[in-house]
Structure formats: structure tokens, C-alpha cells
Amino acid sequence: MAAPAKRVEQLDRVVIRFAGDSGDGMQLTGDRFTSETAQLGNDISTLPNFPAEIRAPAGTLPGVSSFQVHFADYDILTPGDAPNVLVAMNPAALKANLAELPAGADIIVNTDEFTRRNLAKVGYPVSPLEDGTLAGYAVHPVALTSMTVGALADLGISKKDAERAKNMFALGLLSWMYSRPFESTLRFLERKFAKRPELVEANQTAFRAGWNYGETTEAFSVRYEVKPARMRPGTYRNITGNQALSLGLVAAAVRAKLPLFLGAYPITPASDILHELSKHKRFGITTMQAEDEIAAIGAALGASYGGALGVTTTSGPGVALKSETVSLAIALELPLVIVDVQRAGPSTGMPTKTEQADLNLALYGRHGEAPLAVIAPKSPSDCFHAALEAARIALTYRTPVILLSDNYVANGSEPWLLPSVDELPDLAVPFATAPNSPDGRFLPYLRDPETLARPWAVPGTPGLEHRIGGLEKADKTGDISYDPANHEFMVRTRAARIEAIPVPDVDVDDPDENARVLVLGWGSTYGPIGAACRALRQRGLTIAQAHLRHLSPLPRNLGEVLRSYEKVVVPEMNLGQLAHVIRARYLVDAVPFNQISGLPFTAATLENMLEDVVKNG
């Protein structure tokens, strides 16, 4: 692969979107490009977008699957608003994505798929490659399929297998265009097809053919380079939110020295956590695919009662079903981590699209006065730390904790600076081992005066036999009690013990220290809000940003922070759920800014909105 002289241009950032049919391997292609890019040291952020249908009819608009990767020589916060480069494997992929392309964007199209039949499937009477539709774009027509089949002609594999390798041809071409190191992809193919060596060769050959095509064809006259970003020293890997969350749970079990029990029922977009944890039995992790969402949390709670770190993972509809058991966990005052990877609702809604509309459900969605802790990760890699934090709160304060991830952070990816295991928090739990009353009895609801947590006495501990349940319990003894004063005391105590959980003060990013407007977010909107604030500041405007990780309890300093700004804007992917909390709790006139499209905010959308607020009040 010796390089002939081609012009090399330096870029500071690029957004590429790979789009094709669900069967074209676009997620894999994007993943590999991302990994190559990570190896080079660029900062990265990715956004996959795939249909809920497993295989919609080939070549149709509902079947389009895409993967967007944003990489830069500086630190970036989002997967990019709009792609500079679209790789369209068929007419459907072109049609589904064209509207989001800015003028001048590069479009690489697989011309082999632009047949009359495929064009008709998506309603193109004439090929958009020929009728001027793409005027204003830099179109690169490439016969991806036939060149791949040609390159593999001597390998003796079926035509179908040869055609399937076209995504590697495309990856090879893009890897050449952006000067990516590709050794890891060749190694990856060896691992992936270890059981079928002929496919290792086919895919590696297709990759090299794509690379060589870029180098030799006159159709591509320019190569690009994006220099490594300045990142903190250390070892990195690229990680999705669901992977990071899973590893955070493994880390929590290790640091707590407890077995982890995951009860789960498959649901998009949370199932990958079940898949990941099921691979880590060597850490003493049991995963149970339960008969339903209710059984999943029930089994997790049963395991918690037995002294394990009980976890259940789901999405909004599952949280609704689990609600009764969450209330039981609150009454039993046992640790439990409930992961809600939010998706667009209500009901089945749009299972593969993102939303933040379960905040009310997490905060309030139970019968009775049933407070618990709620936290939300702000980025894919932050899911690791958020999972650890959820486990820490659950174990220390003996409470259910809802971890509100969402589809955007769960499936998006970014580089993750690997933490040092020794520096992760020690989550070791002191189980009750002896009676705690002067008369030699064991009082299951005698609280630690500092944490207000009750003792965790697990079955198998002699002398501490006791009965607990969902009926109201008398203070200290845990006996059934219908005493009015006791009920009032217990309700208030359960609320107070959640309110008393120490959480870090919220940080405010206000570099000019004279901002009038504060933008307050929570969870996965951190990236786009941060990018919008950065853009405004680069244009000389002042704005402050604060982001909530803890939604219950809220940081102690939040009221003071909010009141120190003239205007508070709260962007959310819902109809204003956090804004309502802020208004009700702090009497601050928080202005909601809402988008419920199933898509994450673009930085540009927020920049426009915030600019208006900053300039016009």
C-alpha cells in the first residue's frame, strides 16, 4: 500500500455517517472506523441509529441503519449535528439521510445498488445520481459491490459472501481517505471470523481493495488528516454507555466484595447490559432472564435480601411494571439498583429512539410516599461512574436507586480514560452480625444515627432471625404496626433518610463569572448543552452551565445557584419534567426548552435558543 502523491489536507474535525440497509453491517463498519480513529488519538463521539425492526424489507426506508462518528483534534462533546460525509450503501440510505446533509458535503454512493428496482422501492422515479438532486454536493460514485466481488473473485467463496464484504471495502476506502491506522481492523476480522478462515481472508482482501482503490483512483484526489487530540495521559478505550454501565456494575460488585445478582427481562435499549453481565460469571455475577419485568426485580430484591448486590435493568415500560416491587424495596429498606435506559414513550413508543421522559416516573412513579435516590449519567463513559455511584448509595443507605440512562448515552460511544481499580471507591458493607439491643434482641429497624440506614442482617446469621414485609413496621422492632403516630414517623423518616444522603454540590461552569443566564441540564443532554455554551462563548457571549447528576436528593447548593442567575433555562428531551421540579421546589422561574423528537438535541438547536435568551432575555 505505497502511497502515490496525493494532496493531503489537514482538518480539525470530521463527521461521517455510514448508512445502509440493516443487513449491510453499518454498525460494525462504524464501530471499526471508530476504533481505528481512537487508536490514532482523536477525540471521538458516536451515534448509532437503527430501526426497531430486525430486518425491515431490504432496500426500504424503514430498513435504513446508520452510524455517525465525529472525530476531532480537540475535545468534543457530541456526535456532531450534521455529517460532512455520507456513505450511502443504497438509494434508501441516501434518501433517508440527504435532508440532514449541509451543502458541499461529500457523498460516497454505492452505484451498484442504484437499480431501477431499488430506486422504485423508495420512490425515486429517476436516479438522484442523474437528475441533479445532488448538485451542490461532492458526489463520489463508487461501484462498491461489484468491485468487492471482483476483488474476491479468486478466493472461491460464494457470491453472497463476497457481496457481504462490501462494507469492508467501504471501510478500507474511508480509512484511506482519513489516513486511519487499520491494523486493529485486520486483527478484529481474524477474531470475528476465527471459525471461518475463508471469510477472514475475504474481508481483509475487501478492506485492502477499498484502501487501494482510494490510493489509485482519480476519483479521490485528496486525503485528509485529523491530528490527535490533546487528551489527558493514560490508557483509553472506546466505550458505549451500556458497556460502561455494565462494567461499572462489575466494578461495584468487586469493590463491595459482594456477589451481584441481575434480574432482567429483555427490552430495548437495555438488553445489552444483560448480555454483557452474563459474560462475567467469574466475578460471582449471576444473571437471570426472568419471566417478566416483575419477576426480574423480585428476584433481584430476593437476592439483595440474601446479601447480594441486587440489580435490575430495563426501560420505561419495565419500570412501570416494577413499580410495586420498588415500593416494597423502599419499605424493606434493602439495597437495589434499578437501571432505566430510557426510550421514547408512552407505551411501546419508539423503542430505538431516545428521550428523558421517565424522570417523573423515577421520582414519583410509585404508590404511597415512596422516595428513593435517582441519578443520571451525562455521557457514555460516565455510565461507569454513575453505576458505581448508584451501587454505593444503594449499599450505604439501604435504598433502591434508579439510574436514568437513555438510548443516546447507552448506544453512543466515546473514549474512556481507564480508571485505576485501586482508586475506585471502597463499597465494603458491614453486615449485621450480632443483636443490637441492650436486652439481646435484634431490632431490624434500629437505624444508624448518621445514615439512617437500618442493619442488613442476612439469612444464615444466627440469632438475628427476624421478619420483614410490606406492612407498615413499628420503629426499631419492625413489628407490624397500625399506630398513626408511628406511620407518620416512618413516612417522614423514609423521606428524611433519602434527603439526607450527601451528594456533591452542583458545579457551575461560568468562565466569565458574570453570566446572567444559567442553562441547567441533567443526564445525556450534557454534551449538546456544553457544545452550545462553548460555541456561544467563542462568539463573545456569556452563559453559565450547570448539570445535575443527582436528581434525588438534589444537591444542597442548587437553590442558591439557581437564585444567583437572572434567568434559568432547562433544556430537556421531555415536556419540562425537571423544570417543573425546579419551579416547585425552589420557586425559580425556570424556562423549559423541550424537544421530544426521539433524537438528541443538536448543539446548533441549543445554541440558537440560548443565543436568543442571552441577547433578548
Binding site: 481512537a38 483509553y236 428476584a299 435480601y305 446479601g307 441486587g310 416494597l328 439469612p459 446469621t461 432471625e465
Partner: protein, 336 residues
């Protein structure tokens, strides 16, 4: 396991300090006394025994046992107990439930616990009525049952709990009666000895809302004509009747005379136990009690445990070292 002699436990040791609050005359008292009386035989220390219940009159049971116990939510006890049992194979986990709890709201969890063969001893107190909510018909009430919620008679046919459990692939299925302490304890003994799910239906009298539901098979002057005692290795006969396998047909039937079949609960094919279960309808006319089925197959707990142990057998290094390797797995890069 410690021997009962070494533990020196008595029925009294299994009584908690809570006042028992079932209605006077409730069949639950007899079951509680029978269980407390039988527990010492198990030779299991009290701290290693857990009773998990759902909601309903029967589900108050754990409060009265001086063991570990959880009174959970309606229908969910099998699910909660599954998580406990699968993660703590050292414990003896008992589920106490009722006909509404197990067969209505919790039907799904019951069948899945049985299918998985979780190592649970499930005691279903069947009084064929909702007691705690004051007298509505239950999923085991006879068709046409007149109750507060069905003044014109219930329109839905009842479950046969034994048939249901067998259909769910239960490995141990038995039926007994609250008032027959000796029989009840013998069934509990067999259930406790069974590895895997043991399902025990206990006919229990609700003297407030469904009094006398089981009199036909309890009263001295009628029971001999209606109650069939299943005993392992013994011909199945009662009164002047025999349970026979009619030639050329499926199933079993009751007739006078003929050659009775010999009971064998260990028959692997559940069709035999199922045929036995079909002898009794809601009229109780010919009602078998005893162990219908007692077969061996690996329990869920055992399989889960083995997978964990196998995965842990091949590891090297401390958990922290393993975690470090896991976090750094896949493609990594280092920035100096």
C-alpha cells in the same frame, strides 16, 4: 447439616413472639402448628430457614415463624424466593401462598418457578375463596360460586392446582389437608427431602367465607367413600373402590372392584400423575391426597451454581486484578 439432636430444637423454637391473628377456627392454625412441629426434624438451624410469602391470609405465615421471613407483595413470592434461593443455595427457602396469590395474580411466577425447578418448597393454602378481601370467589372456586362479587354465580371454571403444577413441569407435586396433621407432616417431610421445586397444595378451611368446603373428604362418615390416599408402592384403593387403568383408554378411573394400579410417584412421564390429578373435580367426589409426583431433575439453583463455579475455577488473580484486565480489554491506546 447439623442433626436435630445436636440442635435440640423443638416446635416452640419455631414460634415467633408475634400474636397469631387469623380468625378463630381458621385452618391456618392447624397448618402453622404442623409446620412448627415438623421443622425440628429437618435438622436445619433456624437461621438457615427463610419463609417468603405474598399477600392474603396465608401469607401472614412468616410473621409467626421464628426463622428469617419476608412478607412480600401479592403473587410475587415465587419470584423473590427464586432470587434468594438461586443466590443462597445454603438456605432452605419456603414459599407460603394461597389460591388467589399463587394462581391468580401470581400465576405466572408460580409456573415459571416450577418450570425452572427452583429449590423452593411451595405451600399453597387452598381455601377456594378470597379471605383477606372478605369473600370474593377465587381461581379455585367451583363454577357458579355465589359470592359478594358474583351474586349470580361465578362464570369462570376453576384451576385444578395439581394439574396446573404438573403442566408446568413440576418435579414434586402433592396434596394434603389442614386437619390431618399426620398426613400433612408426612407430605412436608417428602417435600423437604426433594431437591428442586416441591409444590404442596393444602386444602384449608376458611370458616368465615367458605366454611365446610372440604367436609366431604374430612368427615368421618363420608371421607372413606371420597378420599383417596396415595401411598408409594401401594395399590390405590379406597372404601369399596379401586383406581384402575381402563383398557383401551387414556387416564385412570374409579370403579368398584377390578385390579387397582400400584402407585408410583417416581414415574418420569407426568401423564400418570396428571391422570391421577384428573380424578378430582371441584366436587371432590374422588379426591387423591399424598404425593402425586416425585422425580429428579437438576434444579435451577444447581445449574446456576455450577456455571458460576465453572467460571470461577479457571480464573487467576485477585478480583481487582481481574477487574483491571476486564476494564482494559478490547482495543486500547495510551496517551503519554
Amino acid at each position: 447439616m447439623a442433626s436435630p439432636v445436636a440442635l435440640k430444637l423443638t416446635a416452640k423454637d419455631f414460634k415467633s413472639d408475634q400474636e397469631v391473628r387469623w380468625c378463630p377456627g381458621c385452618g391456618d392454625y392447624a397448618i402453622l402448628a404442623a409446620v412448627q412441629g415438623f421443622m425440628p426434624e429437618l435438622g436445619i438451624p433456624r437461621e438457615n430457614i427463610v419463609f417468603v410469602s405474598g399477600i392474603g391470609c396465608s401469607s401472614r405465615f412468616p410473621y409467626y415463624m421464628n426463622t428469617y421471613g419476608v412478607h412480600s407483595i401479592h403473587g410475587r413470592a415465587p419470584a423473590i424466593a427464586t432470587g434468594l434461593s438461586a443466590s443462597r443455595p445454603d438456605l432452605s427457602v419456603w414459599v407460603v401462598t394461597g389460591d388467589g396469590d399463587a394462581l391468580s395474580i401470581g400465576g405466572n411466577h408460580l409456573i415459571h418457578a416450577l418450570r425452572r425447578n427452583v429449590n423452593l418448597k411451595i405451600l399453597l393454602f387452598n381455601n377456594r375463596i378470597y379471605g383477606l378481601t372478605k369473600g370474593q370467589y377465587s381461581p379455585t372456586s367451583e363454577l357458579g360460586k355465589i359470592t359478594k362479587s358474583t351474586p349470580a354465580g361465578s362464570a369462570d371454571s376453576p384451576f385444578n392446582p395439581i394439574s396446573l403444577a404438573l403442566g408446568a413441569e413440576a418435579t414434586f407435586v402433592a396434596r394434603t389437608i389442614d386437619s390431618d396433621r399426620k398426613h400433612l407432616q408426612s407430605v412436608l417431610r417428602a417435600a423437604a427431602a426433594h431437591e428442586g421445586s416441591a409444590f404442596v397444595e393444602i386444602y384449608q378451611n376458611c370458616n368465615i367465607f367458605n366454611d365446610g368446603a372440604f367436609d366431604l373428604i374430612k368427615d368421618a362418615d363420608t371421607r372413606d367413600e371420597h378420599l383417596i390416599r396415595l401411598e408409594q408402592g401401594q395399590p390405590i384403593t379406597f372404601g369399596r373402590f379401586s383406581v384402575v387403568h381402563p383398557e383401551g383408554s387414556f387416564g385412570l378411573k374409579v370403579q368398584e372392584g377390578g385390579t387397582p394400579i400400584v402407585h408410583d410417584a417416581t414415574v418420569d412421564d407426568p401423564a400418570y400423575a396428571f391422570a391421577l390429578s384428573r380424578l378430582s373435580g371441584s366436587d371432590l367426589n374422588t379426591t387423591p391426597i399424598g404425593v402425586f409426583r416425585d422425580v429428579q431433575r437438576p434444579s435451577y439453583d444447581e445449574i446456576v451454581r455450577k456455571q458460576l463455579l465453572d467460571a470461577q475455577a479457571s480464573v487467576s488473580g485477585t478480583p481487582e486484578e481481574m477487574l483491571n484486565d476486564l476494564l482494559g480489554s478490547g482495543d486500547t491506546w495510551t496517551i503519554l
